[in-house]
């Protein structure tokens, strides 16, 4: 499946898709040293993390930067609603960031897939298992 996206921070990405259908405050809800999303106790390191958008603390940008520093960062991120805290964090950490249309997260849901994006393209490809 090919899905058009708005590229906010460009870069190559090939990683298993992980959909978290909620907003994330990177500060408080993500442990940068281990790359754990605390609410579900799951790793976000090395995945294509799709979520609704950011919330909460403005320290979030530093937490995204710290994820990269500790080598626990997602391979790329997809959000429905982009906002400055996440964009700035992804720019600093050089993590590709894409905006997806509303409803995308629900459609894909818990299906297992690998997400591929090539730098310069305006879409991502989903390879379902």
């Amino acid at each position: 499946m090919r899905e058009r996206v708005r590229v906010l921070v460009d870069g190559d990405c090939r990683a298993p898709l992980r959909v978290y259908n909620d907003y994330i405050s990177f500060f408080g809800e993500v442990d940068p040293a281990t790359g754990t999303l605390k609410a579900v106790g799951e790793q976000i390191a090395g995945v294509a993390l799709a979520f609704r958008g950011g919330r909460g603390s403005t320290v979030g940008s530093y937490v995204i930067y710290a994820l990269k520093y500790y080598g626990r960062e997602p391979s790329c991120m997809l959000v429905e609603e982009p906002e400055p805290i996440i964009i700035t964090g992804c720019i600093m950490a050089d993590i590709p960031l894409f905006q997806v249309r509303k409803g995308f997260l629900e459609e894909v849901g818990s299906k297992r897939a690998v997400l591929v994006h090539e730098k310069g393209r305006d879409y991502v490809e989903l390879h379902f298992e």
Binding site: L8, V9, Y23, S25, F27, G28, P32, A33, K38, G53, G54, R55, G56, S57, T58, V59, G60, S61, Y62, V63, Y65, A66, K68, Y69, Y70, P82, E83, P84, I85, I86, I87, T88, G89, I91, M92, L97
Partner: protein, 392 residues
Amino acid sequence: MYLTREQERMLNGEFGWVVAKAMSIIVKTGEALGATKLVEVAHAHVSGVSYSNILDPGLEFIRSLLLGGGRARVYTTVNPGCVDYSGLSELIDGSYARKQAVIDDSLIKMGFKPVFTCIPYYHRPPAQGEFLAWGESSAVAVANSVFGASTNREGGPLALASALTGFTYYAGLHVPGNRVARVLVHVKDPRVRGNPGALGLWLGYRVREIPLVRGAGQGLADLKIMLAASAASGSHALVVLEGVTPRGFYSTDFVDRVEVEWGDVEEYIGTEPGGGSVLGYLGCPHLYPWEFLEVYRQVVKRGVLPRDRRLLITIPVEVFEKHYSEVLRLRRLGVDVAAGTCPVVSRLTRVFDHLVTNSGKAVFYLSKQLKANYYLTNTLGVIRAVYGERAG
């Protein structure tokens, strides 16, 4: 994006790599948000300066900006760090003091004003319509909603980049067309109004679009509590407050109208403490001097705190310096006053069974971190609870 010649020269490295890096963060973030130009800011407020939050990666980033020649190009204030600058607090853990000192030293040498507070509007109230680049989500909400200034919820590094360049991107809440309230929220029940922390949490969790709140009360003390909570549990950077937000700095186009009832906010207030150790907490956001003195009067009237009960109050460094004798008096009664920090950006030295606070933001961040039960009430309710007085 359109850049002036000066801005282009900054971006191209003619002012050094620090300015170029800062400019690139602003331009790229702005482009992602659809900005077509940059605007000058009157005041930058830098969040993300507490070592316990940003750890070594953040410390090294900030240090590198100083060593690379970064200097403030605009009036800039700094958020709380993770140590108590009064040196008197027993409850705030001081073990990161040396790391925090490296961050503070870098910020001060870059020319930032070391106020170490989350209420920068105490030091410089923004003017209506002024462009700001503020981190610290609670301060952002107060600047937009109470003062009628404009700032987006900038991430810590972006506010820092604005401090070093004097610019931010023109998008989001800087654009009048984006300051439109879509949901009318009506507060009728005085119990809801009387618990601004819980009302704020509800707003953040339940309302996604910009709300206009009717009947929330007018006092800045309560409003900053409500706005801080809604900025933590949701992402509200602007909550139009009827009778408070200056006219002309927002418009309305309602798609939904709701009334908040007591039953809606009740789920956020937790439970009153029974036995066990209790930590009362006031000062998230930091207290103004007049708020601090009111708490002081209420506490002094009641005397020494009961055993196993502590009250923590957090204030700006300047308020501590002005009211040193009151702080010492409070300490003798068992009250811990910390300056320039707060438990959200630091760690506590001991655990408590129950947290009692007036701050929905503190509940949002601390209840998970401390694994304590919590009770969310108003200022007087906190004081009553730590003294074991019955509510009502």
